[in-house]
Symmetry: C2
Subunit: 185 residues, 2 copies
């Protein structure tokens, strides 16, 4: 009958994916876990705190997926794989992704730490392209910005037609990489 924090996070994430961010309430989470709402406070600070943790968990998972999928590969291929993993997460967990968006407006230290890990990871991938880059930051920001923006924009159609979304994203990323290669050859 005892509940763990992990279960709470998982339940909240599931509800988000099913009903959207606005569907996540302490009432709904408690009901799904078959406990009373106030009992949640033995594990969490507040609804906002829980949502932030859902977001963090998702962000870490994206970092993890990108890391896994790019082990042993480099250059454009690696960056394409990263994009694929990113889109893949978004399609599998639209509600968590929405929560991540929300979290970017409610950042705390931990959010920044995870983002920093992400920047570091993408930086390594960019470096693996072997380009003549003086400053890594601008390139990383460009790639991350594109990834986020393109994926978000395509979410609607991506849920309906994942295959098309992957192909489209790959083509678009190719164009971006083309520009990067051109500039930093």
């Amino acid at each position: 009958m005892r509940i763990t924090k992990k279960q709470i996070l998982q339940t909240a994430s599931d509800i988000a994916d099913q009903d959207g961010l606005s569907g996540v309430s302490l009432k709904a989470v408690a009901a799904a876990l078959q406990i009373r709402t106030p009992s949640l406070y033995n594990h969490i600070d507040s609804l906002e705190g829980l949502l932030l943790e859902v977001a963090h968990s998702g962000m870490r998972e994206i970092n993890h997926q990108i890391t896994q999928t790019t082990v042993g590969i480099s250059g454009d291929t690696a960056i394409q794989s990263a994009g694929e993993a990113y889109l893949c997460f978004m399609i599998a967990h639209p509600g968590v992704y929405e929560t991540i968006q929300w979290a970017t407006w409610h950042q705390n230290n931990e959010t920044e730490q995870i983002l920093s890990d992400y920047h570091c990871l993408m930086g390594k991938l960019v470096l693996s392209c072997g380009l003549n880059i003086a400053e890594l930051d601008p390139v990383v920001r460009l790639l991350e910005g594109f990834l986020h923006g393109y994926a978000t924009q395509q979410l609607g159609s991506a849920l309906a037609q994942p295959d098309v979304a992957f192909a489209d994203m790959s083509s678009a990323l190719d164009v971006v990489l083309l520009g990067i290669h051109q500039k930093y050859q």
Copy 2:
């Protein structure tokens, strides 16, 4: 003593810019207008409906600004101007921009209409580059995705250092345009 819908929208937008999306409540809007909360229902459907209208109003304003700033210019210059106008709006109205993000997860017919206008507008700018493009859509999506993602990502630092943000965005956009020119020359 009478209140107009315009005033309500303006007040809600101002509160959003000042306190963030989560600061917009019917209570706060009513207080700022010096009326009682239920009186708002003579003009709006619900809090969610009001937020959607705030978002729509902001989206139309972005379309308008881009239109204005690109009158009489074409090609990369026009696209750079569009990006500048976009970033400019975001810096001036971060709360409304946050509401627009939120609205993308709560779209309705009107949202889609405004987005469609935006696609059309960006399409014209891309066409003005005089490239050899068979399908306009992918290029428009790439540009829009980049703009949205890059601007959003930079919001934090852009509020602190607008000048830097404009310069960075312009450089990044140059790279994207370089890739587009390369591919569709």
